[in-house]
Amino acid sequence: MRLIINGETQIVAATTLSQLLTALEYEGEWLATAVNGELIHREERDDHALADNDRIEILTPMQGG
């Protein structure tokens, strides 16, 4: 499947958001995810099926003013 992850196009085998995070070795309670501009809550990731050309955002905390 072709996905745009944090702005970069990648080909992945994952079919759900949870599988994608695992495949890319994202882990931790500090992640926030969105698909096509909509927040996907932590507890929704297992059931969230991905589709070709989905835009995935994966954000984590950083320093800020």
Partner: protein, 258 residues
Amino acid sequence: MLELYGTEIPSRLLLGTARYPSPAMLAESVKRSQTGIVTVSLRRETAGGRNGGAFFEMIRELGVRVLPNTAGCHGVSEAVLTAKMAREVFRTNWIKLEVIGNHDTLQPDVFALVEAARILSDEGFEVFPYTTDDLIVAERLLDAGCQVLMPWCAPIGTAAGPLNLSALRSMRAHFPDVPLIVDAGIGRPSHAAIVMELGFDAVLLNTAVAGAGDPAAMPAGRLSARACWSRAIWPCPRRPSSERRFSRDARSILPDRR
């Protein structure tokens, strides 16, 4: 004591967490400043997500309240989504709403800011809008549901200090009951002293502290954390009303004493 959205905050100094020489220096600055609130941000994490995780843990261990921001967002939908993602991570309804209108000056897009503030307030967020000193924009933000305003006193990162005293004075006079926090432009302790004398409720510092020679230590004559700032502005003038030039209610940024 400073009260923001019903929460009492024991300090009138908010501290940004960006651009410190090291994480250890940041942690030390937070501790020594005795700030009650630090601002944080979100970024796209490369696979693994471990940098963000380490920062998250460090902030959590500091035990201060976190105010996430939407730094770098340039439109309503981007800012709203980032706010929702910040709530997911930091588990707070607080959001420092920044909608940037100009890439170079980082001046807020106040039209998009008001729209985003309304959407987020309707969704249960407690919005701290980074705005200018424009009174009408401030009114619109309050109408949109904001109960705190965070005007600049000069553009972000300039350290230029309060550029428009008249506007800041007007803002204080027009909104006597709204917590007003100067969010940007303070570069020296004297700048903080001026806005606190005008009656502002608190100041947010970042570059001025992070860019000090030694942010956590407190050498005389340098900008640094609490000692320098408090030395400069405390005790805050509380003159009889006939002698007050600036405000009827000047405040200190030191932690309130009980």
